[in-house]
Every structure is written in C-alpha cells, then in structure tokens.
C-alpha cells in the first residue's frame, strides 16, 4: 500500500478493539437487564406455585 493510503487508513486497526468493545459491552448491558427481568419472572412463578399449593392444602383441610 502506498504511504499516503497507509496514513489515510492509519486509525482503522488501532481503533478496532475500542469499536468492538463499545458495541459488545452495550449489548451485554442490555442482555444483563433482560436476564435480570427473566430471573424476576421465574421467582414470581415459583411464588405462584407455592401459593397454589398453600391454597390446595387449605381447600383440602376445609373439606
């Protein structure tokens, strides 16, 4: 490559790790929030199952 083109493209390789890190970390943060919400859903579902069991027990005792 001629020296002028080398200078024109001189920032491409050095900037690549920062560009990749910026995009990757952005999506990691968004994904982490999604996982946080999904974990909340799972916890709530477990609590609903416990409530259903407690209700079934109560109905069994009442009969």
């Amino acid at each position: 490559m001629n020296p002028v083109l080398q200078e024109i493209y001189s920032t491409v390789i050095p900037s690549a790790p920062y560009i990749i890190a910026a995009y990757a970390l952005l999506w990691v943060v968004l994904l982490m929030y999604v996982l946080f919400v999904v974990r909340g859903f799972k916890k709530t579902e477990k609590q609903i199952a416990i409530l259903e069991e407690a209700l079934a027990e109560k109905e069994g005792l009442n009969r």
Partner: protein, 277 residues
C-alpha cells in the same frame, strides 16, 4: 334531576396486560432488526468522518510545500472520491452512542412524569412506573457511558476528562444511582416513594443542562452534531434508524419489567390476603 356537576375525570392506572403489552414483543423484534440494520449501515453505508489532513511528502518524508509555504495535501481516490484526510473509523461508535444517550433522556422524562403524578395522587402504581423508568434510564445511561468511554479513550487518548458534557452526564448518572440507593435505604414505603419522586424530578432537571451544555460552553471539545450542516444524509438516516430501534427496545424492556413487577405485586397481595384468612 341528574347531577350536573362535573365529576373529576378518573384516570385509569397503568396496568399490565393492556394493549401496550401486546405490542411490546413486536416492538422488541422491530428494535432488534432496526439496530442491526443500523449497525451494518454505519459501517457499509455512512461515509467515514475526516480526521487530520494528510500531506504530500518527499522520499525523505518531509512535507511538500507550495511557493507560499503552505503544506500540499496528498490526494487519493477512494470509492470514487478524492480523500486527503485520515479516515476516522472510531466515529462509527457515534451511531449507537447518541441514540442510547437520547433514549436515556427520554426515559428520565417519563420517570419525571410518573414522579409528578405520584406526588399529585399518592397512587403507588405511579411510583412503580417511575421506578421502572429510572431502571431503564440507568441501563441506557450505562450504555452511553461505556460507548462514550471507548470513543473518548481512542479519540482523545484518555479514559476521562472533566469536559462539560462528560461532567454533567456523570452528575446525571450519579443522581440516577442515588435514586436507587435512597430507595433501598428507606423502609417506609410512603416516605421512600415521596423522596424518590423528588430525586427523580431532580434527575430530569439535569437533562436539558446535559443536552445544552456544549452549546452554552463554547470551549467544550465534545462534538456538537445536531446543528445546521452537522450531519450528512447518510449519517442522518443511519442515526435515525438506530434511534427508532433503540426506542423500540427501551419500550419493550419497560413493558416486560412492568409486567414482571405487577405480577410480583399481585402475588404479594394474594399472599397477604391468604395470610389474613
């Protein structure tokens, strides 16, 4: 005789399972598609931004000058255009950095709205909405800081500088974090919600300061893009696509979290009712 006195309009409280929740999955898909398209447009459609000028040099590496002593630019043809500047590929970070920053401002505006509604009505539901909006705002504030830091590190050679835009945005991030610290510190739900609402409104007050600071402080080195001639059409199209995509993603995340929190609240209410029986 019918009561002709005007009754105050009863606003229905935000609730899960409404139309917004049916739209949310589609919004998420649209958001992912638009941001992916925007990503490819950023690298393959939007032209790179020009950096420092490249000068013609002799065999020894000395810059060639004209008779007036001005350095002669070196011209190369790239993609049918004559280029005489260093091409800044790091500027591609901008196409996601600016949209996430704008979305964080919008999330804070929504949070401030619900904070005001809570202070006016003392309805706990508005406090829930405010809290979730602040969570979304925090997520996008973190995304803005990360993308900004990567760009700052490469472009300016430092991880941090006390530049007006960066400083005001750091203050904004600290206020948003303080909102959650405050919520965790107070036990009484009524007091917690009231004080948190005030902090939420304070966070929103910083938003226009953050936005306008680069225009108010001329010495700021942070780029001011939204001005006449600041963006070419290809940059504008890419930016708008990513912005709409990020807005859709933020909306979908908000509705997903709201649905989960409402489900949790209803479970707690059922538990309390069962315990009373």
């Amino acid at each position: 005789m019918p009561d002709t006195k005007r009754q105050p309009k009863q606003r229905s409280l935000p609730e899960a399972g409404q139309m917004a929740d049916r739209v949310a999955p589609f919004a998420l898909i649209v958001g992912i598609v638009l941001t992916t398209v925007g990503f490819f447009l950023a690298f393959f459609y939007a032209a790179p931004v020009n950096g420092a000028e490249v000068y013609a040099r002799d065999a020894a590496g000395n810059i060639l000058r004209d008779s007036a002593g001005n350095a002669l630019p070196a011209l190369e043809e790239i993609g049918g255009q004559l280029v005489s500047n260093v091409l800044l590929i790091s500027q591609k970070i901008f196409y996601f950095h600016m949209p996430v920053a704008l979305v964080s401002f919008l999330a804070l505006a929504v949070a401030a709205f619900y904070c005001v509604r809570f202070l006016m009505t003392k309805q706990q539901r508005y406090d829930t909405c405010a809290r979730i909006s602040m969570e979304i705002a925090l997520v996008f504030v973190i995304c803005t800081m990360i993308t900004g830091e990567m760009w700052t590190r490469f472009e300016w050679g430092v991880w941090w500088t006390w530049e007006p835009r960066l400083t005001t945005y750091l203050i904004l991030m600290l206020v948003v974090i303080a909102y959650f610290v405050l919520r965790n510190a107070l036990d009484d739900p009524e007091r917690c919600a009231t004080y948190a609402a005030v902090v939420g409104i304070i966070a929103f007050v910083d938003v226009p300061i953050c936005f306008m600071i680069t225009r108010l402080v001329p010495s700021s080195v942070h780029p001011v893009v939204l001005r006449e001639g600041g963006m070419s059409a290809d940059m504008g199209i890419t930016l708008v696509l990513v912005l709409i995509g990020m807005l859709c993603v933020a909306f979908a995340l908000y509705r997903m979290r709201f649905r989960q929190v409402r489900m949790q609240e209803r479970v707690e209410a059922l538990k309390a009712a069962l315990d009373e029986e």
